[in-house]
């Protein structure tokens, strides 16, 4: 455990040390929320309080991007040789996998925390909501990281194919979901596809956590179960699959 925490601290310092990148993400979020969000909320008049809805959607997109990055970083680490060094250290593979996930979560907290606090402060939400909404975002993040890391076996064959899959998945998962529009306000065909997307459950769970008053949000209990199930299953698959791929067992 001490070794895992030591590695976690070392890696987090390196990532968070890139302050300009963190500030850029906050600035980009602020621009989208305060400029584009204002404009689009004037166009979408049928959804009540859409500006707030849009803001939480931005948080989910940001979580998705950071979690995707964490998975991609894992793959890049393998290509760059950093992973090989870590694998040679006296650390259990399971602990290493857990450390990678924890690092993604810590970076998520650092980069999403301030925008989340800002949105909740603007809307006057109580402090407890910060805790619950951050928990939802992190649970979603764990699931997304699990998917991305599990897919890393593709990257060991071809990084280009991996990049294409990740880009395609990002486009599909974000658009066919309730991240930007509520389920009850979108056409049936679109809504039916979105119901099969785990991000829809995560997005609706976040809106329930921050008390957004939109009709047709999915049941929070069901959403919580889906988000947790996706997180646990993808991380379990990743934990079982990835060490075997890294150590060359799958390729033999």
């Amino acid at each position: 455990m001490r070794e895992m925490l030591s590695l976690l601290w070392f890696e987090v310092k390196e990532e968070v040390g890139a302050v300009h990148w963190t500030v850029y993400q906050w600035a980009f979020f602020a621009f989208q929320y305060f400029v584009y969000g204002q404009l689009v909320s004037k166009l979408v008049v049928s959804v009540p309080n859409y500006y707030f809805y849009y803001g939480t959607g931005l948080l989910i997109i940001m979580t998705f991007n950071i979690s995707t990055w964490a998975g991609r970083r894992f793959v890049e680490g393998a290509h760059e040789g950093r992973l090989r060094y870590i694998l040679s250290l006296p650390l259990r593979r399971g602990e290493f996998f857990l450390e990678q996930v924890l690092m993604g979560l810590v970076v998520n907290v650092v980069r999403i925390g301030p925008p989340l606090v800002m949105i909740l402060w603007i809307t006057g939400a109580p402090a407890l909501v910060l805790l619950t909404s951050m928990t939802v975002l992190l649970a979603m993040s764990a699931g997304i990281m699990g998917i991305m890391i599990s897919l890393s076996f593709v990257a060991f064959k071809s990084f280009d194919i991996y990049s294409a899959i990740v880009a395609g998945m990002s486009a599909i998962l974000i658009r066919f979901s309730t991240i930007l529009y509520p389920l009850s306000y979108i056409p049936n065909a679109y809504a039916n596809i979105s119901r099969g997307n785990p991000l829809t459950y995560g997005a609706d769970l976040l809106r329930s956590a921050v008390n957004i008053d939109v009709s047709g949000l999915l049941n929070p209990g069901l959403s919580a179960i889906v988000v947790l199930a996706v997180g646990v299953s993808t991380l379990t698959i990743g934990m079982a699959l990835v060490p075997r791929v890294l150590e060359g067992v799958k390729s033999s």
Partner: protein
């Protein structure tokens, strides 16, 4: 413990490609074994398997008594590896990288700081300690990669081409430090395709080709194993007759004789130290005079080429 490292039918395949084929190599405690082989001979794969970065397809290896398949964590505690290509934590500084490495092996507080400083100074990195990894030159990054093993001084230290990208002065410094590490009690395995490095470091050499061990011996034995490897140039005071040439060819240990000039022959012999006294007796018997004599033994290049160019090479003790 008879051997610090012992591979037992160690095999690694990638699909149909066999990177390492049924390898049985033993490394004695406290020795420096150099793995010498052309690109693609399986040296790096072997080191990665020993470091448990890769898992074998078949067979196993014991490192300080621990099985790389069954006890990988224990193996990682006693074995350290310096990788061929220095890659790493781009935004971290050398002092942080070594400090992190040290903390992983139980060093802390003042002791850790002292060891890190000593290592940075020892590898001529002290003045670059505050640069970020991405700002280091290729040679500095490589020295940092090697330096990691001098922080925790593992029981078995494994170096993959430790002086690639390093200048001549740096090479000598690294070689001497590796020897120093051995003097301090570590068992060393070095993979290289640089013959001079092998010659400088090796207690024993293992020549590899296409994932197989071709031969493992000390340098002297390997040189002696080449038939006709020693070359003796003999210059006589008078022209060399056919009778002299035939007589020289008849000296035990002579493989062939060629005429260089009218009065000089070149004899390709086994073990010149055994051959020369007999040659001197022959000179007396023939009642002739030798005006000069020059002996050269095969270089490690010759040994390397001898064993890697032949598809089926004979082992000296086989």
């Amino acid at each position: 413990m008879d051997n610090a490292v012992e591979t037992l039918g160690l095999t690694k395949s990638y699909g149909k490609a066999v990177a390492l084929d049924n390898l049985d190599v033993k490394v004695k405690p406290g020795e420096i074994l150099v793995l010498l082989g052309p690109n693609g001979s399986g040296k790096t794969t072997l080191l990665h398997l020993l470091a448990t970065v890769l898992k074998p397809t078949r067979g196993t290896a014991m490192v300080m008594g621990y099985d790389i398949v069954k006890q990988p964590l224990k193996v990682r505690e006693v074995l350290g590896i310096s990788f061929q290509e220095p890659r790493g934590f781009w935004r971290h500084k050398p002092s942080h990288i070594l400090s992190f490495h040290a903390s992983f092996y139980g060093l802390s507080g003042t002791k850790k700081s002292e060891v890190v400083e000593e290592t940075l100074r020892g590898f001529d990195l002290w003045s670059s300690r505050s640069k970020r990894f991405m700002e280091l030159s290729g040679g500095q990054a490589k020295r940092l990669e090697v330096a990691k093993l001098f922080v925790h001084r593992p029981g078995v230290a494994v170096f993959d081409e430790p002086t690639a990208m390093v200048d001549l002065e740096g090479k000598r410094m690294i070689w001497d430090r590796i020897k120093g590490l051995r003097e301090a009690g570590s068992t060393i395995i070095v993979a290289t395709n640089e013959v001079r490095e092998a010659e400088y470091l090796a207690d024993r050499l293992s020549i590899m080709k296409l994932g197989k061990e071709v031969v493992t011996e000390n340098l002297r034995t390997l040189k002696d194993s080449i038939s006709g490897g020693d070359v003796v140039e003999v210059e006589f005071s008078s022209p060399v007759t056919n009778e002299i040439s035939q007589a020289v060819l008849g000296v035990p240990g002579t493989v062939r004789v060629t005429a260089e000039t009218e009065s000089m022959i070149k004899a390709f012999v086994n073990r010149s130290e055994d051959w020369l006294p007999q040659m001197m007796s022959l000179v007396q018997t023939l009642q002739t005079k030798v005006t000069s004599l020059r002996v050269s033994e095969p270089s490690l290049d010759d040994v390397f080429l001898h064993y890697t160019e032949d598809a089926v090479a004979e082992k000296p003790n086989a």
